[in-house]
């Protein structure tokens, strides 16, 4: 239950996601929250996982809607909606 990791939207990426999540969660509690880290240290797991995700976002046709949402509520703004002109 609380221990179970969530799956990826693409079953092919779930294993890679688990490896990344394990690394991230440890880093988050042990380093980030304690102010001991200025960078995300799970880059190796991250690149494998994110390559898988990016490919499947395109394959499953999710990318266009995602790009639209990114324009509307940019990451750089913390996901806040841009004021419409």
């Amino acid at each position: 239950m609380g221990n179970v990791m969530s799956a990826s939207f693409a079953p092919e990426c779930t294993e890679l996601k688990k490896k990344y999540d394990d690394c991230f969660n440890e880093w988050y509690s042990e380093k980030f929250l304690k102010g001991k880290s200025v960078e995300n240290e799970c880059s190796e797991q991250w690149y494998s996982y994110t390559a898988c995700v990016d490919a499947h976002l395109i394959k499953q046709g999710i990318k266009p809607a995602l790009d639209e949402a990114r324009k509307e509520a940019p990451f750089e703004e913390g996901g806040a909606i841009k004021d419409e002109d």
């Binding site: 990426c13 996601k17 988050y28 980030f32 929250l33 102010g35 999710i62 809607a65 913390g78 996901g79």
Partner: protein, 204 residues
């Protein structure tokens, strides 16, 4: 447009709640969330801020009259951007649906912060959602918005219950971890194992 607002307390410290936030799904109550993916993640401001973009996959049955408007599919996607800020001690999550967004848009903002009355032990949860339907027929538009508000309310309540169950498990692990650290310290300092251990247990 309809507004939905909600707030409640979690009986766990803010740091713990933010760490458990990444493990919120799957949980036994919010079974409609079937997958969560991280799309982008950056550490900013010399390690004081963490920004994450996630894709949340939801599978939930909807009434037939809705599938007739939006096309038949029970699978939908939500994009969420979250910011953990260690200086202001806030975790803010903003999300919007990617699927059916030409017909219905749900903008949700959630904020976790230390509870003003008990900042060490409690976390305040604030939730706000803006629900707008874009259907030409006014009556249908209202009906869709009403349905969505109700669905949102149900899911929000499941979210609280589900997160509580995750927090319970997570908090036990957290205490064990920090307890173990305290134990070894105490063993080194004065060899008095049980005294410190019990003190730690009582504190929590």
């Amino acid at each position: 447009m309809r507004l939905f607002q909600n707030s409640y307390d979690f009986n766990y410290p803010w740091e713990q709640v933010t760490a458990a936030n990444w493990k919120k799904y799957p949980n036994e109550v919010s079974t409609h969330v079937i997958a969560v993916d991280v799309l982008r993640r950056e550490v900013c401001r010399q390690g004081r801020q963490l920004v994450s973009e996630r894709l949340i996959t939801v599978k939930q049955g909807v009434p037939k009259w809705i599938t007739m408007i939006v096309g038949a599919s029970n699978l939908s996607y939500v994009r969420e951007v979250s910011v953990v800020d260690l200086d202001s001690k806030t975790l803010t999550l903003r999300s919007c649906n990617l699927t059916y967004s030409n017909i219905l848009k749900v903008f949700e903002t959630v904020r976790y912060s230390p509870h003003p009355e008990d900042p060490q032990n409690k976390t305040l949860f604030n939730q706000e959602a803006q629900i707008t339907a874009f259907v030409a027929i006014n009556k249908l538009c209202n009906k869709l918005e009403e349905f969505s508000v109700q669905r949102f309310r149900d899911n929000a309540s499941k979210g609280k219950q589900g997160f509580d169950s995750v927090l319970e498990v997570f908090s036990a692990q957290w205490d064990k971890m920090n307890g173990a650290v305290n134990d070894s310290h105490s063993a080194i300092i004065n060899g008095n194992f049980d005294l410190i251990k019990n003190a730690f247990r009582n504190k929590n």
